[in-house]
Amino acid sequence: MEVRMRIFRFNPEKDRKPHYDVFTVEAQPTDRVLDVLEWIRGDVDGTLAFRRSCAHGVCGSDAMRINGRNYLACKVLLRDLGTTEITVEPLLGLPVIKDLIVDMGPFFEHYKTVMPYLVNDELPADGKERLQSPEQRERFDDTTKCILCAACTTSCPSFWSNGQYVGPAAIVNAHRFIFDSRDQAAVERLEILNDQFGVWRCRTAFNCTEACPREIKITQAIAEVKRAIQTGRVE
């Protein structure tokens, strides 16, 4: 099949403002969008810049806007787009550095503010593992899947309008610890998120849940954190 790829271009060393380049490419319906980008960079225009590594949706490098929606370029096949006209753009809401590469700095800064690590200094007397029942483990399973690709945060209208909002990804990572039976810092995390730039910025737009390539039920996780703040109980 032949596809027309319209790609957002911006080279800060040359361009005053961004533009789009169009590449017409012969490809297989089962090719990933990433395969096409790789081919363009390797064989047509070496200056095209984007990040990638694993090529199968687990490292989170290549989140970008494809036909107006956030995807991992390695996890969307041409046949799944339902059209041969494909527009590829960088994530919204983070500064563009070059072409499809955005500055991930602000994203990781938000992530770090929610204490995204287990807090518990007590170790079992026998030195072995802490016990946790399969049910307790299941309670936070969904939010352990996050690969920090930023697809959710950069699909969120509240984040677009104010970059101070911690964003869905940070809340997901807080949720992962708040609901972990082994953790002891839920209260602090809930306090951090009980802020005008914390969970209350979330207007339940559901964009994040739709954008998540790991199919995490993000809106639900945020709702659970909101409820925990309101009730003062983690259940």
Binding site: R41, D43, H56, C59, S61, D99, R130, L131
Partner: protein, 598 residues
Amino acid sequence: MTQTHVFDVVIVGGGGAGLMAALNASRSAKTAVLSKLYPTRSHTGAAQGGIGAALGNLEEDHWEWHAFDTVKGSDYLGDQDAIEFMCREAVQAVYDLEHFGLPFSRTADGRIAQRPFGGHTNNLTKKPVRRSCYAADRTGHMILQTLYQQCIKNGINFYDEFQVLDLILSDGKAAGVVAVELATGELHVFHSKAVVFATGGHGRMWEITSNAYAYTGDGVAITLRNGIPAEDMEFFQFHPTGIYKLGILITEAVRGEGGILFNGKGERFMERYAPTIKDLASRDVISRAIYLEIKEGRGINGKDYVYLDVRPETVNKYAELDGRTRPDGTPYRVTAEEILSKIPDITDFCRTYLGVDPVKDPMPIQPTAHYAMGGIPTNKYGEVVVDDQGTVLPGLYAAGECACVSVHGANRLGTNSLVDLVVFGKYAGIKAAEYAKGADLPRLPADPDAGVRRQLDNLLNGSGRERAAQIGRELRKVMMDDVGVFRTEEGLKQAVEKVRELRERYKQVRVSDGGKIFNTELLNTWELGCLLDAALVTAVSALERKESRGAHAREDYPRRDDENWLKHTLAWLNEDGSVRLGYKPVVITQYAPKERVY
């Protein structure tokens, strides 16, 4: 202008091994982690199946059994002192990970869940043993996230998206590294007392691969270029079950949960190749079996793939035939839901990339390039050793997939890479910090980044007669055809010649992007140079080794030859492009080499 930074310990790589080293080194030494990817993008995150440790949570197990299985899996090429050390340490390492917060799947009584994996056995009954500790089918993701979380908690200094291009040696000691900051294109010198390489593997030199684009062998190539040998490079593991054509890995856990391999005639062919352990034989054994089935015309519809079948009716039928039981002694039977809950990510890959539902349809699979057993030679403390006498290069360490301890010998057992990187990452970090404490900051040579500037200038100013993308394609093809699952004298000779030709042609490449900011073309092209160096050493080492052992299967020398070849290869890459080979003995403690049957 090149900026200079001073640290006690510089760690190159932010994957499992690098982060483990960082957590341990930073306790007593001023430490920096440099990574060309954001640490959470590292390939450790792709590991699926689990991390092996004889916790014995579900049935009797002992670290000594784990050690024997590893020795046997290595086809007796692994160093037994290092293997014993690793398997003993593995138990504590897994508890440490749990203490760090790793969300392991759990048993009914709340302990870390464990499942069977290829080559891991009860040494008395020879039956598969539940030794692989897992978190669903994303164990590596959980390890990487957990270690990164701990690094944040401990305020580790990260230099994200800094790509190291050279090692600085001074008076025979490590003195730092030269790196390029991707966002600015500026060079930085990191002047340090100790350097730890944890740069991962080099599986991108093969066409069908489970490896990330970033797996370009930078660490091995940089050390080779600095006169340090590479060990056992001819041993590269092909994982039997990659998704057809794409190479994406389908973890062994699928077979651990009861999945069965079938050829085009619907036969469970592993019965013929490994009568006792069948579909859970070691990876090299199964990859060869698949290759032979395909060669005999027994691929699916005569093509070059076979089926991996994890539909509940198949699993239950063969579990009954094999008399497989659950820990409580009841017969092993599964439902589609149970399978889906154990392998959710695999299910997702199949649906996304194949449009296939693994509990309804079998998965088309073929062997895929997977893991580098060879790499930078180290001892069991992660210290880099530069000859056959065990001479240590002061201040230089390596751990994880880029290193060769050697615990995997000629063939790595599943789950042992994650063990390797937590155990040896930890010790490399501890030893590097100890060394830094007692050492002065080495003298920095004049103009330490001159070599890097020259390399980059060459790439930017080549004649342009050759294209990097084309050279890359030809490299991946020749490595797949001639340095793959099976090898011959003739094929390897061709491969050596071809790689030499490609290295010459590479000098004629010109990078079209002359910019500084995220010049990904420049760095990808530089990485291709690393792959070419690693490929040359791989092919030359393979040509010379005239026996079959583990992942190195020679059609012309089908038997293992302990008399002549029970030894590690050391390969030096000379500046003129020639390769010098040397050998060193295998360390044997208590397991005398035996024939390897499964």
